[in-house]
């Protein structure tokens, strides 16, 4: 059975793929040796940056806030994060697959995910997706500043 259209519309791979690309680009720019994020980190983007549930925790934050400060301000953000990541595994994988097929994302030999999007149109960044893109940009920069993907996952209580 196909996923109902309204559910598919809210989880459509094209939109998620653009948000992932934003996360990857922001991570890579903030990373000291310009390395893109490990693919495992992408699984944090849907529950943290795309779900509106945590949108209020990003208010008053910017690129320099950092993951540790954000978590200190909003400790409940990590509540049930592992469960949410598990529930969104398929959706995230579908969007990564879509991104790789369309050339928006590229999986490197090291298991990192690179964005091929150099610019996101203003019509996208200024539309309803604007807030999610902004959160993804902050999360990408914060994750890069943590030093390693393991440090990010451990800080969020979803270490593998």
């Amino acid at each position: 059975m196909m996923t109902a259209r309204d559910v598919f519309a809210e989880t459509n791979p094209a939109f998620f793929c653009v948000v992932f690309a934003q996360f990857c680009r922001s991570y890579q720019q903030a990373q000291p040796v310009k390395r893109p994020p490990a693919a495992a980190l992408i699984y944090l983007v849907v529950p943290i940056a795309i779900s509106e549930e945590l949108a209020h925790t990003f208010e008053g934050c910017n690129i320099d806030t950092g993951l540790a400060v954000w978590l200190h301000r909003s400790p409940r953000a990590v509540a049930e994060l592992a469960k949410k990541v598990n529930l969104t595994l398929e959706i995230t994988t579908a969007a990564i697959r879509f991104g790789c097929v369309t050339g928006t994302l590229r999986l490197t030999g090291d298991g990192d995910l690179e964005s091929s999007l150099t610019k996101i149109p203003a019509s996208v960044t200024g539309g309803v997706a604007g807030a999610a893109l902004k959160r993804a940009r902050m999360l990408g920069a914060w994750a890069a500043a943590m030093g390693s993907p393991r440090a990010v996952l451990e800080a969020l209580g979803v270490s593998v």
């Binding site: 059975m1 196909m2 996923t3 109902a4 259209r5 309204d6 559910v7 809210e10 989880t11 849907v46 529950p47 795309i50 779900s51 509106e52 549930e53 209020h56 909003s74 409940r76 049930e80 469960k83 949410k84 529930l87 969104t88 398929e90 959706i91």
Partner: protein, 408 residues
């Protein structure tokens, strides 16, 4: 800014009046969550805008709301002050002064040094204010009468002369006692700030949960206010009820259980339902009423699904799995019907198909496990079947796919 903001309100706009009423409702809720006595209760629009009953005592509150950044200050000559006094004088025969206090709640300030400042404290002496109010009332009445005698147009103080005259008619001793029962709460929060004030009072809950609890509490409160006006419940809404509701909402949020956000919401006037709902029902001879009900429930279920998905994308998996469960329950019935009606007449097929629809509407929600542990409303199952019917994942007529493939 929404497009509505560009529309000129025109001279007939009732926005201010509507906001004024909503302010009364929210102020009533704020009063009850702030109350220190367990037997506190609130009545709206009875003896006053808001009436707070505690331990046999009544506090009648007159509210003056404004969204202005700089609302006009309350002074001895304010029309708002005199209209408030008149409103209270009018209810005096219906109340016992010994058991009643009066409060003017206004978002406007009282200027520093104003004689009205004694009203900030219930125990401050009011002798000076009593004399000043008398002088002001006398001045207004005298100037009004003089203006009228001189044929002035407009007549001076027309907006408050009745209030001043009513005040002067009170016996001096009674007036003194009346004034001793009056307080003013200036610079009160306006309607935009009041939800934050309510949230601040929910100190027993973690700060990050207070806003969500307040939002749900306000939705419930609005409904209680409407019911109290329609005699569908007691006129007074008690603190105990509010405490119980707050505990219930907090418990639901804590357990991550789901709230029925659209149970009492109807589709907007400009909503255009999918024509597939009606087409599917027409195949089995559904009535117009059934089509309308199906369209309404589809809107409610789809709105609920959108809300959940927007807040938590991981709900997509849960919604999808539940859709599968609904489709399976439907299939179990529909397959049997298709098999048993392979050679049946068209009329028999339509009758059986209508039974399947009516099962999806009237019985499925009771027979299929609920979406969540605490979920007891009907619209999600009814409406989700319509969402699936729009996509032809389910249908009512045994041959619905073939029939719908033909041009309408």
């Amino acid at each position: 800014m929404s497009s509505a903001a560009y529309i000129d309100d025109g001279s007939h706009s009732a926005v201010s009046s509507a906001l004024g009423f909503y302010y009364q409702s929210l102020y009533g809720l704020l009063s009850i969550v702030r109350a220190s006595q367990d037997d506190a209760a609130v009545c709206l629009e009875r003896l006053d805008d808001v009436e707070i009953l505690t331990n046999g005592q009544s506090l009648l509150s007159q509210l003056k709301h404004s969204l202005s950044n700089k609302p006009a200050a309350v002074t001895l000559s304010s029309a708002a002050l005199w209209k408030t006094l008149k409103a209270w004088i009018d209810v005096l025969p219906a109340v016992s002064l010994n058991n009643t206090r009066f409060q003017l709640v206004t978002v406007a300030p009282i200027p520093s040094g104003s004689p009205l400042e004694v009203l900030l404290d219930a125990t401050s002496p009011r002798a000076t204010l009593l004399a000043l109010l008398h002088d002001e009332a006398q001045r207004v009445v005298d100037e009004h009468q003089a203006g009228r005698a001189a044929g002035k147009h407009p007549v001076p103080h027309a907006d408050r002369v009745a209030s001043c005259a009513a005040y002067l008619e009170l016996d001096h001793i009674f007036r003194e006692k009346f004034l001793s029962r009056i307080t003013v709460q200036p610079a009160a929060s306006n309607i935009i700030q009041i939800p934050t004030e309510i949230a601040k009072e929910l100190k027993s809950f973690p700060p990050e949960r207070r806003e969500a609890i307040t939002g749900k509490l306000m939705e419930w409160w609005d409904l209680q206010v409407v019911y109290s006006f329609c005699d569908k419940r007691d006129r007074a809404i008690s603190m105990l009820e509010v405490q119980q509701k707050v505990a219930e909402i907090a418990g639901e949020l804590e357990r991550d259980e789901l709230l029925a956000d659209f149970q009492f919401v109807t589709p907007p006037g400009d909503h255009i339902p999918s024509s597939m709902i009606a087409r599917q029902l027409q195949l089995v001879g559904g009535t117009d009423g059934e089509v309308q009900a199906a369209e309404r429930e589809e809107w409610r279920a789809r709105s609920q699904r959108h809300k959940w998905l927007n807040e938590r994308v991981d709900m997509a998996v849960r919604i999808h799995r539940y859709d599968q469960l609904l489709a399976e329950a439907w299939r179990d019935k529909h397959c049997v019907m298709v098999e048993t009606h392979a050679n049946a007449t068209e009329d028999a097929k339509r009758v059986s198909g209508l039974e399947i629809f009516r099962w999806s509407y009237s019985h499925a929600h009771a027979q299929i496990p609920p979406f969540a542990h605490n979920w007891s409303t009907t619209y999600y199952v009814r409406g989700s079947y319509q969402v699936l019917a729009v996509e032809q994942e389910v249908g009512w007529h045994p041959d619905y796919k073939a029939l719908l493939a033909k041009k309408p």
